[in-house]
Amino acid sequence: MEILSDVTFNIQLKKHTFCNYQLKIDEKVMTLTFPQVLQLRNKVNLLTSAENLENIIENENFVLLFIADRKHLVFLEIPKLLDLKEELAYCFSDF
């Protein structure tokens, strides 16, 4: 873990203060509360179900996602959406 401390990823979710989390997607940095993180996890999980992914690919091929109680709007293409899902899953795994 220490080795990765200097590496920056395109998508990163980090704890900022006790009740705030910082989500970085490319250059955009957003502050989220824990319920907002949970909401984002739920949204991303819904969007990345096989059926919905297929639907996105057949149509616009991207999603516009409201984050942090609609404070932020992000544009995500499929690979980035999957990266975000992975990052969220990692944060919630085996705590």
Partner: protein
């Protein structure tokens, strides 16, 4: 990060997702019982209607119990969308048989949540779900007993059978 998440919530995320599905299932069962109650109410099947109205309330209470638990454990309970409910039935016996199928489905879903909680070492959820495991045994038994009454009174007028059915 993992420690941070652990401080915010005690419930395992996989269990939380399953419990959210369970909330939807309980609420759907409630809506379905309401349709059954209405069918009986329109035909003046007094005991059956009382039984199904009570079942509708009970299922909703189960859903709310899970809903509150998920939020109390730091998770996010989701208000479910209720899919379309069947309002057409062929007869009272069919209604009770559908009701038994529904209860069995709920039981299986509870077992799924229970297993997930056990596998994830989510002890709080496991203990919470124990109540539901026992409750489902009771629920299934009630409906089975009613179907037995139908078997025993086969051929009797519907109203007469209804008079012998429990209301709770």
């Amino acid at each position: 990060m993992k420690t941070a998440i652990r401080r915010q919530m005690t419930i395992n995320t996989e269990v939380m997702d399953l419990l959210n599905e369970q909330i939807a299932l309980e609420m759907h069962a409630s809506a379905s019982y309401l349709a059954m109650a209405s069918w009986c109410d329109q035909r003046e099947l007094v005991n059956s209607k009382a039984f199904f109205y009570k079942q509708a309330e009970e299922e909703r209470a189960h859903g709310m119990k899970i809903f509150n638990f998920v939020n109390d454990a730091g998770g996010a309970a989701l208000s479910p969308a209720i899919p379309e409910v069947n309002n057409e039935f062929e007869g009272l016996r069919e209604i009770f048989e559908t009701s038994l199928d529904q209860e069995i489905q709920v039981t299986q879903a509870i077992y799924k949540c229970f297993k997930a909680a056990r596998n994830a070492d989510d002890f709080a959820s496991e203990v919470f779900l124990q109540w539901f495991v026992n409750e489902q045994v009771e629920e299934e038994d009630t409906v089975r007993s009613i179907i037995d009454i139908f078997d025993l009174m086969e051929g009797m007028p519907l109203k007469m059978i209804d008079e012998r059915l429990p209301t709770a």
